[in-house]
C-alpha cells in the first residue's frame, strides 16, 4: 500500500543550521495497517509524514503508494488519496466557512471541482448523517462558521473530513496533543472508530506512549532521523511502556530523554 525506500532529508545543507532530519528511512505498510509512531522531539516524525503527503520532497529515496511512484507528485495531486489531520485544531478546517461548506470541501477531495453546487440537497443528507455519527450535536449547526467551534469540535470535524472520502492513507500528526485530556480521549476513540469502520491504512504520531500502545496493530519508534524500533502485530499485543523504555535504552545505550514521553506515563 505505502512504501518508503531509502528516504534521506537534510535541512539547510552546508550551513551552520544543517540538520539531518531523516536518515535512511525504510517503511512498508500493508493495506489496513494502523501504525503508531513515537519518538523524541525532533526525531523526524513530522518530516516523514510531510514526505508522504508531498508537503516536502526527499533528497534521496522513493515513495510508492499502491505501486505507483509518487515521489515527485505535487502535494495537491497526492492528497486525492491521502487524508491528514494536523496537531493544530485550527489547521484542518476553513474557519470563515460553515460546517457544511467545510464538509463539501472534503467531499470534493477525490472528484474534480466544477460549477456544481457545493452543498446540494442530496449532499446535505450525507453530511447530516456523517455529523450525527460524531454525537457532538454538530448536525444542528450546519450553517455555523467553523471558527466558532471549540478546539475539540474542530478536531473532530477535521477527522471526519479527513476520512470522509475513505482515503488510501490517513496521516495523523499528534492530532490529540493540543486538546485537554477529556477532549483528547474523545478524539482518540473517534479515531479508532473511523479507522476501523473503513479499515483505513493509517499512520499516527503521538507522544502519548499509552495511546501508541492501545491503538493500531503496529508501532515504530524514531530517533535522530531513523526508525530504531519496529514492533510487529504479534509483539504489540503484550507491549508495555516499560518494554518501550527498556528497548530504547538497549538500542541507544542511554535513558529515554523525551520529557513529554515521561510525563505521559
Amino acid at each position: 500500500m505505502l512504501k518508503l525506500q531509502h528516504i534521506h532529508k537534510i535541512f539547510n545543507e552546508g550551513t551552520p543550521d544543517e540538520k539531518v532530519a531523516l536518515n535512511h528511512i525504510n517503511l512498508t505498510l500493508e493495506a489496513g495497517d494502523f501504525v503508531t509512531i513515537i519518538g523524541s522531539n525532533g526525531a523526524g516524525k513530522s518530516t516523514m509524514m510531510n514526505m508522504i503527503s508531498g508537503a516536502l520532497t526527499p533528497d534521496v529515496g522513493t515513495i510508492t503508494i499502491n505501486g505507483k511512484d509518487v515521489t515527485n507528485l505535487p502535494e495537491y495531486k497526492r492528497s486525492k488519496y491521502i487524508g491528514r489531520v494536523f496537531q493544530d485544531p485550527m489547521a484542518g478546517t476553513a474557519p470563515t466557512m460553515t460546517i457544511q461548506e467545510n464538509l463539501a470541501l472534503a467531499y470534493s477531495r477525490n472528484k474534480s471541482r466544477g460549477l456544481r453546487s457545493g452543498v446540494s440537497k442530496a449532499r446535505k443528507e450525507i453530511f447530516l448523517a456523517a455529523l450525527e455519527s460524531l454525537n457532538l450535536n454538530l448536525e444542528n449547526r450546519l450553517n455555523a462558521k467553523v471558527g466558532l467551534l471549540s478546539g475539540g469540535e474542530r478536531q473532530a470535524l477535521s477527522l471526519l473530513m479527513a476520512t470522509f472520502t475513505k482515503p488510501d492513507i490517513l496521516l495523523l500528526d499528534e492530532h490529540t496533543a493540543a486538546l485537554d485530556p477529556s477532549r483528547a480521549a474523545l478524539i482518540t476513540s473517534l479515531t479508532k472508530e473511523l479507522v476501523e469502520k473503513d479499515s483505513l491504512t493509517t499512520l499516527m504520531i503521538t507522544h502519548d506512549m499509552q495511546q501508541a500502545i492501545d491503538l493500531g496493530n503496529r508501532l515504530i519508534m524514531m530517533d535522530k532521523g531513523q526508525i530504531i524500533l519496529e514492533v510487529s502485530p504479534e509483539e504489540k499485543k503484550n507491549l508495555t511502556i516499560e518494554d518501550l523504555m527498556n528497548e530504547f535504552q538497549r538500542i541507544r545505550g542511554e535513558k529515554m530523554v523525551s520529557d513529554r514521553a515521561l510525563l505521559s506515563t
Binding site: S79, A94, T96, L105, S108, G114, G118
Partner: protein, 343 residues
C-alpha cells in the same frame, strides 16, 4: 444638487463592478492585489481603442473584460509560479500595464507608438446605444413627471444608465454569489481562508489563485471600460488610486451593511461604492474643499469607516458589562446578611 448626487450614484454603480473585483481578491482570496490601478485603465484603453476602430461597443467592452482577465492571471502567475511576493507581483504588473495601456491606445494613431488618451465624444458607446433604446420606452418622462410633482426643478438627463446599470451590477452580484457556492467557488474561498488545509483536500491552489485574480481584474477592467464610455474619455492616468477607491468601497459597505454572509457582503460592497461616490461629491460641495483634496477626503472617509465599527463594538461591550455588573450587585445586596461574599 440633485443632479450632482444623481451623477455620483450613476458613477458609483459602475465603480461598484470594480469594487466587487477588489472584494474577490482582498476579502475572498486574502490577496492584496495592486494590479487594479493598471487593469482598470487596460479595460478603458481596450474598449476605447476598439470603439475608435469601429467595433461594436458591446464587443469592445467584452474584449476589455478579457484583457483584464489576462492581466490579473499574469499577476497570479508571477506570484504562484515565479514565487514573487503578492504585493510586489501586483505592483510590477501595475507599472507594466501603464506602458502597455499607452501602447494599446497608441494603436489608434499613425504618428506615435503610445498615446495617453482617447476621446470618445463622437463615437458610439454602450451608453449611446442604451440611450437610443431607452428613449423609446418613455420611462424618463414618466419618472421626471413624478419628480416635478414633488417640486424638484433640475431633472436628470436620463434614468436609463442608473436603472440598466443597477440591473447589470445585480446580475454580476448574483452570479458571483452563486459561483462562490459552487465546488470551485468553495475551493477559492478556502484558498483565502486556509491554504494549507485546502491543498490537503486536493485543490490546485496555484490555479485557483490565478483564476481568482483573473476574475477580479476582469471585473475591474469591465468597470474601466464602462467608465470610459460613460465619461467619453479614456486616459492613461484614470486608474491612479483605483485600488484605494475599491478598498474604500469594500470597507464602507462592510461597516454599514455587515459581512456575515457572501450575499450580504457583495450587496454591502455595491452600496459601499455608491456611498463613497456620494460622500465625495457632497464633500466637494463644501466651500473650502478643492478637487485636489479628493485623496485626503478618501483617506479620512476610510479611516472613519474603519474606526466607527470598532468604537461601536467597544461601546456595546462596555454597556453589556455595566449592565451585568449592576445585575450582580443587585443580587448581592438582595442576599441575606451573612451569606454575602466578602468584599
Amino acid at each position: 444638487m440633485f443632479t450632482a448626487l444623481f451623477g455620483s450614484v450613476e458613477q458609483g454603480i459602475i465603480y461598484a463592478i470594480m469594487a466587487l473585483g477588489v472584494y474577490i481578491t482582498f476579502r475572498v482570496l486574502d490577496f492584496p492585489d495592486l494590479t487594479v490601478d493598471g487593469s482598470f485603465v487596460t479595460g478603458a484603453a481596450t474598449a476605447a481603442t476598439m470603439i475608435t476602430f469601429g467595433y461594436d461597443p458591446l464587443i469592445a467592452t467584452l474584449c476589455a473584460l478579457l484583457a483584464g482577465f489576462v492581466a490579473g492571471s499574469i499577476t497570479g502567475i508571477l506570484h504562484t509560479k515565479a514565487h514573487i511576493n503578492e504585493l510586489l507581483a501586483g505592483i510590477l504588473m501595475m507599472i507594466a500595464l501603464y506602458s502597455i495601456n499607452l501602447r494599446i491606445m497608441g494603436l489608434t494613431t499613425e504618428n506615435a507608438v503610445g498615446r495617453p488618451n482617447i476621446p470618445l465624444s463622437s463615437s458610439d458607446t454602450v451608453f449611446t446605444m442604451l440611450h437610443d433604446f431607452w428613449s423609446t420606452l418613455g420611462i424618463d418622462a414618466m419618472l421626471n413627471n413624478l419628480l416635478t410633482a414633488t417640486g424638484l426643478t433640475s431633472l436628470p438627463r436620463t434614468w436609463g444608465v442608473i436603472i440598466v446599470m443597477f440591473i447589470v451590477v445585480f446580475i454580476i452580484k448574483f452570479m458571483l454569489d452563486w459561483f462562490l457556492k459552487t465546488e470551485y467557488g468553495l475551493a477559492l474561498r478556502a484558498t483565502g481562508d486556509n491554504v494549507k488545509m485546502i491543498r490537503s483536500f486536493s485543490a490546485n491552489t496555484d490555479n485557483v489563485k490565478i483564476f481568482a485574480l483573473g476574475l477580479s481584474n476582469a471585473l475591474v477592467a469591465l468597470s474601466g471600460a464602462l467608465i470610459a464610455q460613460l465619461n467619453k474619455f479614456a486616459d492613461a492616468g484614470m486608474g491612479i488610486g483605483m485600488i484605494v477607491i475599491g478598498l474604500a468601497s469594500v470597507i464602507i459597505g462592510e461597516a454599514i451593511f455587515g459581512k456575515k454572509t457572501i450575499v450580504r457582503a457583495t450587496l454591502a460592497v455595491i452600496f459601499g461604492a455608491i456611498i463613497y461616490r456620494v460622500v465625495i461629491s457632497l464633500a466637494l460641495q463644501v466651500e473650502f474643499l478643492d478637487t485636489g483634496d479628493l485623496k485626503l477626503i478618501t483617506a479620512v472617509v476610510v479611516i472613519i469607516a474603519l474606526v466607527i465599527p470598532y468604537a461601536m463594538n467597544k461601546y456595546k461591550e462596555k454597556k453589556r458589562r455595566a449592565k451585568r455588573r449592576a445585575q450582580l450587585m443587585k443580587e448581592v445586596t438582595a442576599m441575606p446578611e451573612g451569606e454575602k461574599p466578602i468584599a
